[in-house]
């Protein structure tokens, strides 16, 4: 009889520690009300346009700054995470081009 801890270990998959970019788009009700669904779709389509193969775009819950939605956080293991706020489709286009492809953070879109 396997112990619960052993069963849990079996269920666990390795976490995303593999150098991919991960984009978390805030998709709680606050984010969606502010237009996050279009932002999410924009990320997906821009990433496809640029042919980027291993960027994860996921939806996430509310991180708390409801007045800055739609928000997306871009992370990669080995880099500081970047929180982009007050997004729209045009900003997403630039983020994919300049950050995901070009590797450069767009400071003016962040929460400062």
């Amino acid at each position: 009889m396997k112990t619960p801890t052993a069963i849990l270990a079996d269920l666990k998959k390795k976490s995303n520690n593999d150098g991919h970019y991960r984009v978390r788009v805030g998709m709680a009700t606050c984010g969606i009300s502010a237009g996050a669904e279009n932002v999410y779709k924009a990320f997906r389509s821009q990433i496809e346009n640029h042919g980027l193969k291993d960027v994860d775009v996921i939806s996430t819950g509310c991180v708390g700054r409801c007045d800055l939605e739609p928000m997306a956080e871009v992370t990669r293991v080995g880099e500081p995470p970047v929180l982009y706020v007050l997004l729209d489709e045009d900003k997403v286009k630039r983020i994919v081009e300049e950050h995901l492809v070009g590797g450069k953070v767009i400071e003016e879109f962040t929460a400062r």
Partner: protein
């Protein structure tokens, strides 16, 4: 990094942690850099790093992205001299195992997140709520595994009781005690319920918690079922939360598929399942006995207590019913221990509380702070202060059951008892900030409109009392108030509070009593002077053109939607008060500021 010679050091400055190492470190780093003339070559940035506390005090140096652990003042010099200035990392202080730094929030001055301690919201905004793998990677289900493997039901209850956790739905009853009481009633069947009927206007703590981390609630209820000896749970969610419902349904299915819900959980002989029940738009169904009636298929109306649900609840069986936020604390308490939880907060109120910060405030949103944080810190530090830098007037906590706390109580620490003393209550966590442009009589009217509408009608004091209270408030805001209204409002309020069957009626008059206590002069102005000092109550407003200043440009008359302004060009214009709808367009348009609102 624009300049390749420039380095950046990121310091974790969470001020709400038990060891504020980073906060002490940051000024030291700046001082030492200045001493060495290196402040231009090294940028210092504050951040808040969730879950990395074992490395505290922690710094990260960019661009190499090297994480240093335990950098106390003694080790700091070497990091600064050898790495920051001379570019050679200090290998022995490095954290060597791969660390996912995506839980670090860098927000410039970290004011919004710095004072927060996110326990119930630990995964919100971090994981994909529909990813079971994400949940597992954040220590999901470790608590349930620990409970089933190493703890007896009584030990689980002991741990929750020792932690000091109190009900987060507003009642503040000892959670551990409630679990113990429910477990001790002899019965064939017991039930577990989650009250997710979050009905307070402006409150969205529970919604965000469920939308962002549905598995947490499921795991917590499973632990609760084990602790009290139940095999069936219900989550009662208001129908107005479709996204939360969707995510819960998904999570329940996932959990069942993986053997973590349903029969023989984790292969043990413990079985527990959860079903959803949806509300139908009734605020009163947030009251536990009305909620239970609703699940039973009866009309959502409360009944007298005792007996309490822990004795006789759903289908007359002992029932454990807790709020979403209360549940969300359970896995964390099991994993980190009761002492860890009890170390946060005040003497009587342990742990953290989530607030939905709204109203006339710069940073609106969801915040989770340790109990004991003051209202001033939440409003001015985390919330950034009053929007447009206007004057603070009051902060309303506890929703329609609460009161308005004026300026002199801003240093009140958040704590069940302290908020009662300040004339309000904790409630479920709604926090609405009001400024000089808020009319406090209008606020009381707003809340009574809500509670009067939501009153189920079963008991006379609430059904009739809230109606009469509202009628008086409406008359007062329309300029038809009389001096006798004030003692009548007070007397009737106390009767309704005392004699109502359930919490809705018992607390509905609170906004009236609290505003009468702290802002009586506003009521008096409405009644005696027929004047609304905040300029809100339309019936008491008058737009008036100053004949001394008017130049007869006719712009106001042109813009008036009801054409109630008369006057020839170059002659003084006059507003016909009987037609004026008080829209304010004329005042906006006047180029010489001749139009006043009074």
């Amino acid at each position: 990094m624009a300049d390749s010679n420039k380095r950046k050091v990121v310091v974790c400055c969470g001020t709400a942690c038990t060891d504020p190492g980073g906060k002490k470190l940051e000024p030291e780093i700046k001082r030492m850099l200045a001493e060495r003339g290196a402040e231009d070559r090294v940028e210092v940035e504050e951040a808040v790093a969730y879950g990395m506390c074992k490395n505290c005090p922690m710094v990260i140096v960019e661009p190499e992205h090297i994480i240093y652990s335990k950098i106390g003042l003694d080790r700091l010099e070497r990091v600064i001299d050898e790495h920051l200035i001379n570019g050679k990392p200090v290998e022995e202080f490095r954290v060597t195992e791969p660390v996912d730094t995506s839980n670090i929030r860098i927000l410039g001055n970290a004011d919004f997140f710095g004072k927060q301690v996110r326990i119930t919201l630990r995964n919100c905004g971090v994981i994909d709520p529909e990813s079971f793998d994400d949940y597992l990677n954040m220590r999901g289900y470790e608590a349930l595994a620990k409970v089933l493997e190493t703890m007896t039901p009584t030990q689980v209850i002991d741990e929750i009781e020792r932690s000091g956790l109190r009900g987060r739905g507003g009642g503040g009853y000892s959670t551990g005690l409630k679990w113990r009481q429910t477990a001790s009633v002899p019965a064939e069947k017991r039930y577990v319920i989650c009250n997710a009927d979050e009905g307070d206007p402006g409150a969205f703590m529970d919604r965000s918690a469920i939308e962002g981390d549905p598995f947490c609630l499921i795991e917590a209820m499973t632990i609760g079922g084990y602790a009290i000896g139940s095999d069936q749970g219900y989550i009662y969610v208001r129908a107005e939360y479709p996204l939360a419902i969707k995510r819960l349904r998904y999570a329940i299915n996932e959990a069942r598929e993986r053997g973590l819900l349903g029969s023989n959980i984790f292969g043990t002989d413990f079985s527990f399942d959860i079903d959803l029940r949806l509300g139908a738009g009734a605020f009163v169904c947030g009251e536990e006995t009305a909620l239970i009636a609703s699940i039973e298929g009866r009309r959502g109306m409360p009944r007298p207590r005792p007996p309490y649900p822990s004795n006789k609840g759903l289908w007359d069986c002992p029932t454990l019913i807790n709020n979403v936020e209360t549940w969300a604390n359970v896995p964390a308490i099991i994993l980190n221990g009761a002492d860890w939880f009890a170390n946060m907060g005040t003497e009587t109120s342990k742990g953290t509380k989530v607030f939905a910060l709204a109203g006339k405030i710069k940073n609106t949103g969801l915040v989770e702070v340790p109990m004991g944080t003051t209202l001033r810190e939440i409003i001015y530090d985390i919330g950034g202060g009053i929007r447009d830098d206007k004057k603070f007037k009051a902060v309303q906590t506890g929703g329609p059951s609460g009161g308005c706390i004026p300026e002199q109580y801003l240093d009140t620490p958040i704590d069940y008892e302290s908020l009662l003393k300040a004339g309000s209550m904790m409630g479920s966590g709604g926090m609405i900030v009001m400024d000089e442009d808020t009319c406090m009589v209008d606020v009381a009217k707003f809340f009574l409109t809500f509670t009067q509408d939501e009153s189920c009608g079963k008991c006379t004091p609430c059904r009739e009392g809230t109606k009469r209270l509202l009628e008086m408030l409406i008359r007062i805001t329309e300029g038809a108030g009389v001096p006798e209204d004030l003692p009548k409002l007070e007397k009737l309020s106390r009767h309704v509070k005392k004699a109502s069957l359930c919490g809705l009626g018992q607390s509905a008059p609170n906004p009236i009593l609290s505003t009468l206590q702290n802002f009586r002069e506003e009521y008096e102005a409405h009644i005696y002077d027929k004047h609304c000092p905040a300029g809100v109550c339309l019936a008491l407003l008058r737009y008036y053109i100053d004949p001394e200043k008017c130049v007869g440009c006719t712009l106001c008359a042109k813009v008036c939607p009801v054409k109630c302004i008369s006057g020839a060009p170059k002659e003084t214009h006059v507003i016909d008060q009987s037609l004026c709808i008080k829209c304010g367009e004329c005042k906006k348009k006047c180029p010489v500021k001749a139009i006043y609102r009074e």
